[in-house]
């Protein structure tokens, strides 16, 4: 009996499109990047097995800078600029992990207890992939190139947990 229940629990999820919430997050990221002055476009689709993917591309030449997908219930993030692909069941943890593994994305001073809203982390990840992808820096206005105003202050991207009272969010975005 218990073996049957276990087998049922382990059954892989049926492929399905991004949820409305997931799509809303992607589009909020796109909007944040555009407001920051980056020329970015997005695209999405389903594979022939019905599994979803989502990409952010440079608008001027349509080159893909970062690819998100969900394959067999696992999330996947791949960006040529990071020379690698990361997969996992927890999307937010995956984004966080990718940023941790690429400290150039967000310098983390020792003892820093500053935390970011997950949406803000996604913006950091995509922006960095975009800027690292090459010509974007030249194509983007100065405010994007300097990391200023990457929209932490709007779109509800406020940090949660551990933020010191009165601390400005932009602190960790500036080099």
């Amino acid at each position: 009996m218990s073996a049957q229940v276990f087998a049922f629990l382990r059954r892989p999820a049926e492929p399905h499109d991004w949820s409305a919430q997931e799509l809303a997050e992607f589009y909020r990221v796109e909007s944040a990047l555009i407001q920051a002055g980056l020329r970015v476009v997005s695209g999405r689709g389903l594979t022939d097995e019905g599994e979803p993917w989502f990409v952010f591309c440079r608008a001027e030449d349509d080159e893909v800078v970062i690819h998100f997908a969900r394959i067999g219930g696992r999330y996947l993030i791949s960006a040529p600029a990071y020379c690698g692909t990361a997969t996992g069941h927890d999307f937010r943890a995956l984004v966080r992990d990718m940023i941790e593994r690429h400290p150039v994305l967000r310098p983390r001073p020792k003892g820093d207890n500053l935390f970011f809203h997950p949406m803000a982390l996604l913006v950091v990840l995509v922006t960095s992939a975009f800027l690292k992808s090459g010509r974007a820096a030249g194509a983007a206005p100065a405010k994007a190139a300097t990391g200023e105003a990457i929209t932490w202050k709007h779109r509800g991207a406020t940090p949660v947990g551990g933020r010191r009272r009165g601390q400005r969010q932009e602190r960790s975005t500036k080099r």
Binding site: G43, T47, D48, V55, E60, D61, D62, I71, L76, P80
Partner: protein
């Protein structure tokens, strides 16, 4: 990334990529391959990349052209020639269309 800045506007680039994606899909389907099978043949790390290309987003890296040609059972030069039509129309036109036009004129 493989940049190839041409003086095409974004709509033109997107239209060409979409057309190229349709061509790739048609070739794959003609061989009865799923996107996952094609991904395995070309050594793509994740098969959603195939779907992405077939939708007209991004492009096949030049260092994979030979793998793709083999996977789609084409001669590399024929594969690249067709792909250039969508990825690099200016070069394609100079190399092939102008040649074909002058050849036609010479024959007349």
């Amino acid at each position: 990334m493989y940049g190839n800045p041409q003086r095409l506007n974004h709509t033109n680039v997107q239209d060409l990529r979409r057309e190229g994606g349709r061509w790739l899909k048609e070739r794959r389907e003609r061989l009865g391959l799923s996107q996952r099978q094609l991904a395995e043949r070309v050594g793509a790390e994740y098969y959603t990349f195939i779907s992405q290309l077939e939708t007209g987003r991004g492009r096949i890296p030049p260092d994979r052209y030979n793998d793709w040609a083999r996977a789609l059972e084409m001669r590399s030069r024929d594969f690249v020639r067709e792909l250039l039509r969508y990825y690099d129309p200016i070069t394609h036109s100079i190399l092939f269309e102008q040649d074909a036009r002058s050849e036609g004129a010479r024959r007349r």
